[in-house]
């Protein structure tokens, strides 16, 4: 039975609790995801998330294929940010095999990942507003901006969402000057869109009333449940892997990490807006001093690429949190012996029940929206 807090003593009217399952076929669960909620009237007294509807056996498949062949599959993990997924796998393999990545490739990787971050944050806010009932207007503004970034990705890597762009030791296609100009143009226009977005949303009384003090995630719980990404920073946990590991060339850029104090849905929304502004800063610096040179390490072979036996864990600050890959290679070397992926959405979802108890059904939907999960990554 679902663990229930004691039904709120209404005293006046004695209603019995109804067990309702929200999803998997539900308009606002961001994919195939079910929540078994026990409702006492409108308030939620028990909630059990049920996942696994989109499990595609990615980790077992990777053990049967060469290292290179796993890269296109990482696009399908968090299908919203394929670039950061690729980078996470490449980072882990490079750490395991000791491959040195040329300067230009590092800069291109930063540019492409920061573009993915602003793409993801703006669309997440759009989806959350959709759950709030804003008939898709903010979502379509976010999608209008996302289209420009996806056009850049298509001219760069060949596909809009499934980029399969990074290789061990660098990137697959060099960024021509035309593409750099296109990126500069996007980054120049983005702050204007952000101001328009904030004017539409940030002090909209209905949004404030609906989001403040809803789905509060206390700081200790965030740390204990190993929450990562904007959700943790909204609760005040100062933990951004770009600052902690300084992987790639992030050490060279100066940018700040915004932190909230209350950790409710509004904080998570506003933290994402501030993070987009920081990403714009990083993009400007990266695009300004993008060096020339090789875009991929020449010594890395495409076919029968082998890795000496050993294991390693590489992680990246994906837009949704800390995305890490734990890889073990045996003496055969051509195929990973063990391939494990640490998805941020899955772990951020574990605290959903603690945030939702005591709230109304309408709040459960927004809290899920603010957690920002993509089922491809949750179920792998």
């Amino acid at each position: 039975m679902i663990q229930q807090i004691s039904p709120i003593p209404t005293g006046m009217i004695e209603t019995q609790t109804i067990e309702v399952s929200i999803g998997p076929q539900h308009p606002s669960t961001h994919g195939v995801f079910r929540m078994d909620a026990v409702l006492d009237g409108e308030t939620v007294v028990g909630l059990k998330p049920v996942m696994g509807y989109l499990h595609r056996n990615h980790e077992q498949l990777a053990e049967r294929m060469t290292w290179l062949a796993s890269i296109p599959y990482t696009d399908r993990l968090d299908y919203f940010n394929s670039m950061t997924n690729n980078w996470a796998l490449c980072l882990s393999v490079e750490k395991l095999a000791g491959i040195k990545v040329p300067e230009r490739a590092e800069y291109i990787r930063v540019i492409v990942s920061e573009l993915t971050r602003i793409l993801n944050h703006s669309c997440v806010i759009g989806f959350m507003l959709q759950d709030l009932g804003a008939w898709g207007t903010p979502l379509l503004y976010a999608f209008r901006e996302r289209e420009k970034i996806l056009d850049l990705f298509e001219s760069l890597s060949g596909a809009r969402m499934m980029c399969n762009y990074m290789r061990f030791g660098g990137v697959r296609v060099d960024m021509t000057d035309a593409m750099v100009a296109q990126a500069k143009d996007i980054v120049a226009k983005f702050p204007r869109f952000l101001d328009e977005f904030e004017q539409l949303l940030s002090n909209n009384e209905v949004l404030l009333a609906r989001c403040q003090k809803v789905g509060i995630l206390p700081k200790e719980l965030a740390i204990n449940a190993s929450i990562s990404g904007p959700m943790a920073r909204a609760s005040g946990v100062d933990y951004d892997i770009r600052k902690v590991d300084k992987y790639g060339v992030y050490g060279r850029f100066d940018f700040r990490v915004p932190l909230g104090e209350v950790g409710d849905v509004y904080d998570r929304y506003y933290i994402r807006v501030l993070e987009m502004r920081e990403s714009i800063k990083i993009l400007n610096q990266a695009l300004r001093d993008l060096p020339a040179g090789a875009f991929v390490a020449p010594e890395v072979k495409l076919r029968n690429f082998k890795i000496p036996p050993g294991d390693g864990y590489g992680r990246v600050e994906a837009p949704k949190g800390e995305l890490g890959f734990y890889l073990v290679s045996d003496e055969g070397g051509k195929m990973p012996y063990r391939y494990h992926c640490r998805p941020p959405s899955f772990i951020n979802l574990t605290t959903l029940e603690d945030m939702c108890l005591g709230h109304k059904v309408a709040d459960v939907v927004i809290i899920l929206g603010s957690v920002d999960i993509v089922l491809g990554e949750v179920d792998r």
Partner: protein, 388 residues
């Protein structure tokens, strides 16, 4: 109806006595049944195109030149859709709910004046009749939700009834203010009371402070009554799928939509009549075509109200159920009661300009205080620090 009767009585001198009466009744009925559903059809089209344009896209443009035939296509589609009734639904009530949803919305049009003297039924209890009828729509929501025997639609029905009942009170009180100023319940007299010294526009109630507050209260009430954003809780997709009309499909669903939209248009019509001076506008006194100009003004204002409704629908998110109730009882009700007191004050103050100032001050003060009390609770400015 009476004016048409006098007009026609002359031509049918010879015929049996009841014929002109029958025609005099038939004309307004045909008008209501013909014009307003057409307005409903094209409201849906305008709504989808306007929402599209707000979201930087076109909106339906495949059926007919600019999507003109889209309502026809929707209607046909819904007509041909299979009509599914849940197995253990309460057949009779399930069938009756959409019918009862449409009847009050159509009846509401009976008291909406189109041109001087041209109102389908000139009841001297016009506004009261309108409110009496609009309470009946509550029953349709309830029966729809209760009869389809599924948890979500039951939740939707409970929410809908609670919302409509609790927004009924401030709306009626806002109308009471207008009735006090106009001195009569009949819609024709209300419109006449808004012409002051021949100037057709200056007299509108909306330009008085209490009139403006009444207008805002009535508009909010009308939106809540017809479950339009930001109060579309009953059919909030993201929470409970489609509220009370989840289990309806095919033409019954179309009837529910017809009922809802017609209620929204009727409420917009009543708002126009009470606050924006119904058919008043420059040029209605020209001898022959005055009537047509008046009708034009009425439909123009009606269009503006509907567009305002659509504009709001494209922008604002949805309010939660308990906030909705709190807003109705804690903010709207006190404001409407104060509004009635202010109209009384206005009535007895001789010098109108001074009265205008005093009433504006009182209402402004009240609004600020209420805003502070109700909003202070949960909306506070947030500051964000950056890591080192």
């Amino acid at each position: 109806m009476e004016t048409i009767y006098q007009l026609i009585a002359g031509w049918f001198a010879g015929k049996p006595e009841w014929l002109p009466l029958a025609i005099a009744i038939a004309v307004p009925i045909l008008f209501i049944v013909g014009v307003y559903p057409a307005i409903f059809a094209y409201t849906t089209l305008v709504e989808r195109k306007a929402l599209g344009r707000v979201q930087n896209r076109y909106g339906p443009n495949r059926v007919g030149r600019w999507g003109i035939l889209q309502p026809l296509a929707d209607g046909l589609k819904l007509l041909t859709k299979e009509d599914i009734v849940p197995r253990d639904a309460d057949k009779f009530t399930h069938f009756l709910a959409p019918v009862i949803a449409v009847i009050p919305s159509v009846l509401l049009f009976a008291i909406v004046p189109i041109a001087p003297g041209l109102v389908p039924v000139n009841l001297n209890i016009g506004i009261l009749f309108a409110f009496a009828i609009s309470t009946a729509s509550v029953l349709a929501l309830f029966m729809g939700g209760w009869a389809s025997r599924n948890k979500f639609s039951l939740l939707g029905a409970m929410r809908a009834v609670a919302q409509v009942v609790s927004y009924e009170v401030p709306m009626v009180l806002a109308a009471v203010a207008v009735v006090m100023a106009a001195g009569s319940l009949s819609t024709l007299d209300i419109v006449k009371a808004q012409t002051r010294g021949g100037l057709e526009i200056a007299g509108w109630f909306v330009f008085q402070p209490w009139g403006f507050v009444g207008f805002v209260l009535f508009a909010i009430g009308a939106m809540a009554e017809s479950a339009r954003t930001p109060f579309d809780i009953p059919e909030a997709e993201s929470e409970i799928i489609a509220g009370y009309h989840t289990e309806y499909s095919g033409f019954k669903f179309a009837l529910f939509q017809l009922g809802e939209y017609l209620a929204a248009i009727a409420m917009a019509g009543i708002t126009v009549t009470m606050f924006l001076g119904g058919y008043l506008g420059p040029g209605i006194h020209i001898p022959y075509i005055g009537g047509f100009i008046a009708a034009f003004w009425f439909f123009l204002k009606l269009g503006c109200m509907i567009l305002l409704n659509i504009w709001i629908r494209g922008t604002w998110p949805r309010v939660r159920v308990d906030q909705l109730m709190g807003f109705a009882w804690k903010v709207l009700l006190p404001m409407s009661i104060l509004n009635i007191a202010v109209v009384g004050l206005w009535h007895f103050m001789g010098n109108k300009v001074l009265a205008w100032g005093v009433t504006a001050a009182i209402l402004g003060l009240a609004f600020v205080i209420l805003a502070k009390i109700s909003a202070a609770g949960n909306i506070e400015k947030r500051t964000y620090r950056y890591a080192n």
